[in-house]
């Protein structure tokens, strides 16, 4: 627990010193979501139906873009090797790192999402569903993405490779996240989708740190 909080503090300090990185991902999220109305036309009815899905796809891409930051810098300067050599179980500090990554790259997306939702004509209740679905879904994106980031450490073309590895695995989160907003719009209700997202989050939280630990060991040795 101590190790997790120490690592969390370190990661957050590092992120605060390099605020540009955090903002870049956030603006990427905003820009991608703003491109869709320009592409499909300003028809409000259509945009309202698409809104949830577009915000979710943009969140997926933004989360993927931020994965490079997760381990790359620590790998380059040798910190990662030192972390692996510490007696602290890898699963503990990996959980801390992923948590920090989510706080830095996931939470800003959740806070920005209502602004984008309003642009797509979503109402108050629907915005609340959008935010809760992102609250449950974005940690999963960080967790699953960490596996891809760990496996592609130091590889040529790592960024594109991560997208190929990770995006297919993101599909369930996208389906249930966008489905929750859809359910709120159509009046079918979004509890089922949110419960499934919560289930995926619990499963991912239990399993992925172990996979990330194995992946890091493979990449470092």
């Amino acid at each position: 627990m101590n190790a997790i909080s120490a690592l969390l503090r370190r990661e957050l300090t590092l992120a605060m010193r390099r605020r540009g990185d955090v903002l870049t991902v956030l603006f990427f999220f905003v820009i991608v979501a703003s491109l869709f109305p320009l592409g499909v036309g300003p028809e409000p009815k259509l945009l309202r139906l698409m809104g949830g899905g577009v915000v979710w796809v943009a969140a997926l891409l933004a989360a993927m873009l931020s994965l490079g930051r997760l381990f790359a810098a620590d790998y380059a300067d040798g910190t990662l090797e030192q972390l692996i050599l510490t007696p602290t179980p890898p699963v503990a500090w990996i959980t801390g790192k992923i948590l920090a990554h989510w706080l830095v790259s996931g939470v800003p997306l959740i806070l920005m999402a209502p602004v984008l939702g309003i642009q797509f004509g979503l109402s108050g209740a629907e915005l609340a569903v959008l935010m809760s679905s992102l609250l449950l879904g974005t940690p999963v994106l960080s967790l699953i993405g960490a596996i891809g980031a760990a496996l592609t450490l130091g590889l040529r073309g790592g960024g594109v490779l991560v997208s190929l590895l990770v995006l297919p695995l993101y599909i369930p989160v996208l389906i249930f996240g966008a489905g929750a907003v859809d359910g709120a719009i159509s009046g079918l209700g979004s509890e089922a989708h949110l419960s499934l997202l919560g289930g995926i989050l619990i499963l991912a939280f239990m399993l992925t740190p172990w996979a990330v630990a194995a992946a890091l060991r493979i990449s470092i040795e």
């Binding site: 596996i147 496996l151 592609t152 590889l155 040529r156 073309g157 790592g158 490779l161 190929l164 590895l165 995006l167 297919p168 695995l169 599909i171 369930p172 389906i175 249930f176 489905g179 859809d182 359910g183 079918l188 499934l196 995926i200 399993l207 996979a211 194995a214 992946a215 493979i218 990449s219 040795e221």
Partner: protein
């Protein structure tokens, strides 16, 4: 110790190379015979479907390819798990030898599905749950192969690929059900594959024989590919040098 036949002997690349060489003709032969028989049944013996006329005959390629594409992914993940658990190099080589065949069969099933969909459903592609999950399976195969291709160190490539194959196989059921529910929640399924009219026994027989043929082909192709991988990895070892000398 076991006397006489020892199965563990074949976990060594050198002995397996020879064994695979002896087995390949048999599997290719079986694939050719079963393929010929299956094609004969499917094109000459199986009756014309009264709803879909002749277009339905594409299922004799399509269904075996789809079955095998899923089966191969599971087998691949099994080899990957075996390799990670027992640290056997041959298991990793088998996993990477299976991937291209699996990806090819996934592509064949998508392609033939599109060819069948156009006359039957009137569309090359619909976002049906099965089509979508088959497409995602194709992406998973591509991710596995791309990851292995990007890593130069064979040991790391083997293990990284094995891990992503295992992560994929855990995710496949989750992806399948999410896509299925997504499809049924979005819109009423306009086309359903599940309520197929009961199939004539001859059609089923043709399909099963074709599935066996594809299975045999997949084994033969994987064994041929694993032989290449073994030679490439072991090119500096003594037994390869000796074998090449003997052949000259």
């Amino acid at each position: 110790m076991m006397s006489g036949f020892n199965l563990y002997k074949y976990s060594s690349p050198a002995t397996f190379y020879a064994l695979a060489g002896r087995l390949i003709p048999w599997f290719y032969g079986a694939a050719a015979l079963l393929g010929a028989a299956g094609l004969y049944v499917s094109f000459f013996l199986a009756p014309t479907d009264f709803q879909q006329s002749e277009a339905y005959r594409i299922i004799f390629i399509h269904v075996p390819a789809a079955w095998m594409s899923m089966f191969i992914y599971i087998v691949m993940a099994g080899w990957a798990a075996l390799g990670l658990a027992f640290n056997t190099r041959l298991s990793f080589m088998m996993a990477s030898a299976l991937a291209p065949t699996g990806a090819m069969l996934t592509f064949v099933s998508l392609w033939t599905g599109a060819l069948w969909g156009k006359p039957t459903w009137g569309a090359w592609w619909v976002w049906d749950a099965r089509l979508t999950s088959e497409l995602i399976l194709f992406f998973l195969y591509l991710g596995f192969m791309a990851l292995q291709a990007a890593i130069d160190d064979p040991r790391r490539a083997d293990r990284a690929g094995a891990l992503i194959a295992l992560v994929g196989v855990v995710n496949v059921p989750i992806i399948y059900f999410s896509v299925k529910w997504w499809n049924t929640l979005h819109q009423g399924a306009s086309v359903s594959l599940t309520k197929a009219p009961s199939m004539a026994a001859v059609m089923l027989a043709g399909m099963l024989v074709m599935a066996l043929a594809v299975w045999m082909y997949a084994i033969a192709a994987a064994l041929s590919r694993v032989r290449c991988i073994i030679l490439e990895r072991e090119r500096n070892s003594q037994w390869v040098a000796q074998m090449l000398e003997a052949e000259e």
